[in-house]
Every structure is written in structure tokens, then in C-alpha cells.
Point group: C2
Chain length 379, copies 2
Amino acid sequence: MQESLSPDLPRPFGITWDAADELLARLAWSRIAEPGDHQAYGRVDGVGPVAALAEVLAGSGPARWRVRLPDVDPRRDLEILRRLGGRAVLPGSPEWPSGLDDLGPERPFCLWVRGPLRLRETTKVSAAVVGCRASTHYGDHVAGELGAGCADRGISVVSGAAYGIDGAAHRGALAVGGPTVAVLACGVDRAYPRGHEDLVARIAVEGAVVSEVPPGSAPTRWRFLERNRLIAAMSTVTVVVEAAHRSGSLNTARRGMSIGRTIAAVPGAVTSSASTGCNQLIRDGAVCVTDAAEVAELVAPMGECLAERPEGRPAAYDGLNPAELRVLDALPMGHGAPVGSLAKVCGLSAPEVLAGLGRLDLAGLARRDGAGWRRAHRL
Amino acid sequence: MQESLSPDLPRPFGITWDAADELLARLAWSRIAEPGDHQAYGRVDGVGPVAALAEVLAGSGPARWRVRLPDVDPRRDLEILRRLGGRAVLPGSPEWPSGLDDLGPERPFCLWVRGPLRLRETTKVSAAVVGCRASTHYGDHVAGELGAGCADRGISVVSGAAYGIDGAAHRGALAVGGPTVAVLACGVDRAYPRGHEDLVARIAVEGAVVSEVPPGSAPTRWRFLERNRLIAAMSTVTVVVEAAHRSGSLNTARRGMSIGRTIAAVPGAVTSSASTGCNQLIRDGAVCVTDAAEVAELVAPMGECLAERPEGRPAAYDGLNPAELRVLDALPMGHGAPVGSLAKVCGLSAPEVLAGLGRLDLAGLARRDGAGWRRAHRL
């Protein structure tokens, strides 16, 4: 499309794409600048992606941007993505996840997306379920349960497709046919980690696979750290399931916190190093969550979906008043005792004991035995 | 001591003790009225123990008090206690634990005490370490560690001598030769539970065994519930280590909460029913504690004994700035790469890459390889 290239723009590096097209310019920026490059975000937000790109093409801006220019070809990247059935999503477009706008100056240039789920709608009611790669059976189990329980309630499960907690959370959501979004630190055409090739492929077919870096990009430590801000921003709440003291998922929690997201953590044994980070998060003020219903409580507007409190089987003596409880305590297991001796044992008057016995009799806890009363054998 | 009995007091039941003696009157009340009898506390607080007792001896007051009168003999109870080396402690006396006064109208009439530790001093810096009887190995382990860790820091460990968590907490304190107080729901002359006969005996020799009910009293469900308020009131903080949904230790926590004590709980696996109550307490606002240092932080005045945050071994790349981290990410593991290609990979200018390489070289993370740079094998 050389002909549509604005005539006043320089054409270094023999570029064959239209640097005046906003879509292509934004995609180009996602290759020129690393995620988290505030200077680049500032220029693009300030003068727009096309003008900012023109500046770089004209030789201004830091050298770190210019060194990448020869490899920039957003039309080719887009073609790679389209062959995979993917698409590019820009800020302001109908599919753009509105949560990303909360990142302010850290908002990505664009998203590279695969999968049938529409991001804005999907992430509207969502929970990031994240954690360490070196998870325990406990963590995997809980992540799977949370993934399934959230997805089953229509809460999209956003995670990073990593080994351990992330993978278990995605799988839990897929198992119930629920919505899940994998946010990668590499291009969406790559499967990372390798062992999750099938998982990522399945999410690309049933959910959504998202990245801010263009096709072919490698996952680097830096990109993982910046990727975490997308996971946090694309979710209503971030739930850390298991995290050792230095887990990257704590970084996700911090990124979420910094933009005002609710942070939750699953408690774990204080003797398990894989739970150290979670227990510390809770100490630092994160919400302690123990099941998907409690996560749902954080995601849904107040009062709309309250988690039920766990209730054990009520004991036979639940609901007894203090006097009745004392009469029950005083009742012998063997032969019946007369009301007078019961009164003395429990420190109540005879009429009070009789009233208590009546109630206990009705509750099946006391029974007459000769001239006295004993405990019913139910207890 | 018939001769000292006030001549205007009636002498029903042929009592042989001095009902005008405040000590004996208070001890008598501890047998006449059950723990938690607000009406009795009200009379004793209102007109004093002697006058309140005189009213009962004269036939007034509720029948539940009068039915017990024939069995009341505080001089005999005191004698039983003294034979065991014990003592009675009254409100206002030098040994009275000042925390009990926070119970207000629920303050006990007296305490029956065995053991060398002086209660007021001992409970001044103290933590209740409580939990369920049906504890897990995890809970026992943590309770033992907390008991030892608190006692080692001079924090008295107050508990209920029950099976499970309570016993483990006491044993932890005893193991380090630290202060521990067992508060019983039965008379201090009885060993309950039977299996803890040796434990209670040892606490009576090295710590303190306390009860508000007189010698010979049986442990009833009601007395357990009321006993819990003493554990909470005699401690600066109540720590629940393991508690199922309906554990009595949650009652201790509630009693503590109602008089403004700090409540803490040890988190546990959400899949462990023995931790359900603790995780729920944390959800409800209890402090999440993972070790004795964190308990100490709650007991000690602010800033006096801050718990250290757990710190893992720092990774080699800790402290690198974003540019250095990106250079590190870009370094090949095998043959060295030239600065120009590194600059392109990590999106930095050549001088920035060189600066980063210098720092990485110093940190032992990068090394020269031919004309280029590669990762040092340390990682």
C-alpha cells in the first residue's frame, strides 16, 4: 500500500506498509517498544501513534526504538495472525477490554488476540486466578476448583497459561465449558511453555489467547513482569492460589493493587513454602478466599451473589438455652436421676429443671427413666 | 470458726464456716452459682459477697442458688486445695489477673489456683493458644511451635489443657521451660481430660492451673463455654491454631472479641476441615499469623518487637534495573552475540546495552565470548 503512505513521511528502511494507518502504526509500536516503555506510551498518547511513528522514522526518539525499525512489518504480523484466525484489537475499539484503560499511561499499544471470546464482554465479570509454577497438589486442586467454580458462575478465568496454578485454573474453567482467557508474555502464535502447547491451543479454540507483543516474540522475564499488569487489569479481582515468597504472581497482585483492583489469596499451611506468599498477602490486607463462592462475592456487585457461609451439621444441642444446656449436662447416661438431684447438680430450681427437661424431651435428648430422667441414647 | 459468725446471720443447714468472711463468702458463691450466672454476679457486685450470701441463707434469691446450699463448705474446699499446695485468689488481691476485670459483670467470684506462677504477673504478657481437640498433625506441629516460640519470648501461653491444640501449645511452652497457664472447666484437683493427667500435673508444678469452679467440680459443656471467657480475658491476644466450623475455640475467640482482645488465627489448607474455622475467622477480620514472631508483634507494644518478614534467598537478578534485566533476558546461553544484535533483541540502544553488560559482568551474570557476549553459566 505504498500509494497511501503520506507523501510527507520519510521512507527509511524501504518500508512497504502504510505508516499513516492508525492500526498499522499501533501494531508497529508494539514491536518497536518493549512493554512498559513509558516514554513510548507517552509519545503515542501525546501525538497519536501515526505522528509518533513518523518521528521515529524521521530519526528522532531514543536509539532503542530505531534499532528495531528494520524488523518492523505490521502488515506481515497481521497476516501471520490472520492465518491463525486471530485479530488485532486497538484501544477504543468495541472489543477493547475497558479494564485496560485503568492502566493509564501503562496501557498497551494494542492486543494480539486469538479465540472466539470477545474480550470486552468476557472480561467484564472476571477473576484472575494465578499462582506459582512450582505448585503443590493442594494448589493445583484448589486452582482447578476455583477455575471451574468461577467459570460455572459465568466469571471468566484470566490467567497466564504457565505450569502449575495458571494451567490448573484454565483447565478447571475449560472442564465446565466456561470462559477463560490466557494472557501470554510471548506472541500468540507461540506455545509457551512448550508443555502447555495443547492447553494454549484449546484456549485459542474455546476461549481467548491474548498478548501485547507481536507474533514471533519470545517470552522474556521482563515481558512476564509486564504481562502481569494485563492479567490484573483485565480482571475484576486477582486471586493468588499458591505463591512462594518470590513468586511472580505476587507481582500480578501488586500490579492489581496499584490500579485499585481487589486482591484475594487462598490461605495455606504455614509450613508450606508454596503458601508463604499467599499468607503474607492476607496479612498485608488481601481478602482471604476459600472457595469460588467467596470469589464470586468479590466479583459481583454487592448483595447480588453473596457467598454462603460454610455450615457444619448442627449438633443435637444447638439452639438450647443456657438452662437447658446445663440440664442436659447434668443428665446421667445410665439410670435416671430425680429432678431434685438434677437441680442441685446444675444449679437450677426444680421448676427450671422441669421446663428444661420438657424441651430436651421434645428434642429427643432426654427421656424418663423410672421416677427420674436420663439422657436419650441419641447423643 | 462458729464464734466469728455474725450473730444476726441465720444458720440454716448447720453451716460450720464463717459466712461473714469475704474470702469464704466468695468461695461459697463459686459453688452456689454456675459460671456465667449474671444475677449472682450482680448481687455479689452490688451488695458484696457476704451480704449477698446472707440473703440466700435467709431464704431469698432464686431457688437454683438455695438448692446448692447444703453442699457449700468453702473451708473444706480450701483445705482440699491447700493439701494440693493450691490457693484461692480474689478480685482486688495482688495476684488477681487484671485482665479478668475486663469481663465486667462476667468477672468470676474467685479463682482456684495451683502452681508456682503468680497470675497477675504471668498473664500481663500472654497469648491464648487454643484450638480444636480433633487436630491434625499440622495443627499440633504449629501449636507446639507457637507455644515454644511464645514462651521463649517470655509470652505466657494460656490454654485449656484439652487434647489436640491446647495440649500441644502447653507442651511447646514447657519444652522451652517457659510460662504456661492451664484454665480448666473442672476443679483444679481433677485431671481432665484423663489422658492429660500428667500434663496438668506438670503444669501445676511448673506453671499455673486455674479454675473458677471449686475442687471436685465436674467439667460440663456449660462450664467449658464459660471457661473460655477466662482464657480470652487472661490473655493479650487469642490465637486459634486449628478449628473446625463449630469448634469451641471459636467461642473463645468470640468471647475475646467481645471484650476488645486481639484475635488471631493460623491459616490452613482450605481443603482441611480442621482449618475451616480459622480461615473463616481471618475472613471475618482476625489477624492472620504464621509464626510466633508475628504473635509477639500483637502482644508487645507497637514497635517493640516487630516480626521480621520472611525473606527467601535473593535471586541472582534481584536488584537489576529494567534495562539490565532486558539485556540479561537477551543474552544467549551458547555462543556470544554482538552488541548490535543484543540491542535489537532487547529494544535498547547500543550504549544502553553496553552499560547493562558492564553491570551484568560485575554481577557475574554475563561474560565476553569472542566478539560478543553470552550468559555466564551461573544461572
